[in-house]
Symmetry: C2
Subunit: 348 residues, 2 copies
């Protein structure tokens, strides 16, 4: 069905053609609201007036975080693997959301403390058994950080052959709101305190303890002298985690491949922030699924000038919000591709 | 899969059991946000801790309105049938939205000016070739109004045998925002002017002209002396249309059948308002899909204490918003039925 627009000289020309096509669909002008904005974006991503995006897949990146040793989480690191096992069993939150929206789910071990047994829906891309404790030392070496970014990119390069063109990004990682807050602070300059929330649950010692630990981690090094994109890459290395780095690498590759990237919550958005800091054009490929209940998320969305399509007060992670946004992406795709045109004279 | 709870004495007990089940799913407490509220509602509708709702279907009710003779619409009545034909051809807005969300679509001719040729997805339930002009006379006779309500109920009674348990309600009817504004004003007492918007497009003579015509129609009769539910039924008869009456009858029957009713935009919500006014318990079966761009819709949602699940700035009608909400209903169903429980000790 795809009518490639190789003859269209510029993105601007394609944008105008897409907008005209959207306006000519059989409906009052603008009456499909946000779906019309999505359709325009999808057409630009696919480089086509009649995009055929293909299958949707949720990639769930799982890894552990050394900073959990500081008591910044409600749950121990072992819970990362427990939840990952539920994903493979098909009974986690992401599985029910993906099943409701026609997506399949693949789990990536990016660096769990303990590996999982082989499974048809598991990719073993372990960089290390968890990051180092970012309170006291860099979470990763430079080599590990580069490996994680490259592994993410490689996963995406293989998706086209499976017919996948819509990728939802989710994660599991006890401690990864801590890593995200630190990375987001380093990249955006937004005050660290405002970027810190309870994540999956406030630690036993309270949110103030989490704030104190993260302030100390942030003060361990000075990134202020580095310019972007170097600062984003160094923040990623300093604070982790392997799942965030792998997501950033995968998002970057997906944008290059002309695939639709659906960004989930606070951690997934932090990965998007890193990817955009490394290459600004990645932003064009990103569909922001929802605004989560984690307080820092809204700030990052604002920073990225992102208007999510859903508002469901989710804070589970795993890619649940990304999955729920897939039918909206799909409806926008079909609207652009398969809906009738207006009769003549047009509906005003 | 359905584990019927016939032994549960009261709705309150079921509600407590459902809430406990939702809280025990493998996720931080409350972390699926609005999906958890939906799951509670679905469990109560189905009367089950493990609801198996069955297939989803969009019913699109189409009819014409005599009040279009007053120049209150941007488009002539003939457009109702044009759009209905696109629905049957599978290329209208509702078709792409339904296809994106796993629902099928059935069109009901509730009273088009001119009938459509037979079609596998068309139900001929024509009451009359359009309503009378409500500016000057009652839109329907009492018999016609009763026929439309009964026809809607009968359509729903046949859905169980098709395995349908989720019903999205959409409509097509040039002039039906006028009918809806008048009915909504009569039932709720909200000022008529605030309930009037452009619908599919402001009329050539302007929105002020539409307001003047509807004010005159409202003043033609006095409904203030009638109490609910008689007032709602008389408002329906006075202002039409056949599609709104048929939707109200269908929603009432669906609530009795324990089916999930997904309410779309302003007109669909007006039908819900009528159905709830006729029997308050109908409210429990209603899932409100979205808040449309039509200004009166938000007021009706507030009146019904309804918090829609989507906010996409839609104003197309046809059931498009209802279709897009189906995956959220489905995810809530699967969460309740198929998600794992917490390990012990639980995630806080």
């Amino acid at each position: 069905m795809t009518e490639m627009i190789g003859t269209v000289a510029t993105r601007t020309a394609l944008k105008e053609q897409l907008q005209r096509r959207i306006d000519q669909r059989a409906k009052p002008l603008g009456s499909l609201g946000r779906l019309e904005e999505l359709a325009l974006q999808l057409g630009l991503i696919a480089g086509s007036l009649t995009p055929d995006l293909g299958a949707a897949r949720i990639l769930v990146f799982a890894a552990d975080h050394g900073i959990t040793a500081e008591g910044v989480t409600a749950f121990p690191s072992a819970v990362t693997r427990d939840v990952a096992k539920l994903v493979l069993a098909g009974t986690a939150g992401i599985n029910v959301c993906a099943r409701a929206t026609g997506a399949d789910v693949v789990l990536i071990d990016a660096g769990l403390l303990e590996p999982l047994p082989p499974h048809a829906h598991l990719l073993d891309r372990r960089i290390r058994a968890g990051t180092r404790n970012a309170r006291h030392e860099p979470a990763m070496t430079q080599v590990e950080c580069d490996q994680a970014l490259a592994a993410g990119a490689a996963i995406v390069k293989n998706l086209r052959s499976d017919g996948v063109g819509i990728i939802g990004f989710g994660e599991i990682g006890i401690g990864n709101t801590s890593a995200s807050s630190l990375i987001a602070h380093a990249i955006t300059g937004i005050g660290l305190a405002g970027l810190i929330g309870p994540g999956a649950g406030a630690p036993a010692a309270g949110l103030e303890h989490k704030r104190a630990v993260l302030q100390a981690a942030a003060q361990r090094i000075s990134l202020g002298d580095l310019k972007l994109p170097d600062r984003s890459r160094e923040a990623l290395r300093q604070f982790g985690g392997f799942e965030i780095a792998m997501m950033a690498g995968a998002m970057h590759a997906a944008a290059e491949e002309g695939q639709v990237v659906i960004v989930d919550g606070f951690i997934s958005t932090t990965a998007a922030l890193v990817a955009v800091a490394m290459q600004a054009s990645v932003r064009d490929a990103l569909v922001f699924a929802h605004c989560s209940a984690e307080p820092g998320h809204l700030m990052l969305l604002d920073h990225l000038d992102a208007k999510p399509v859903l508002e469901l007060n989710l804070r589970l992670g795993e890619g649940t919000g990304a999955a729920l946004a897939i039918p909206l992406v799909r409806a926008a795709e079909y609207m652009l591709r398969d809906m009738a045109d207006l009769p003549s004279p047009p509906l005003a």
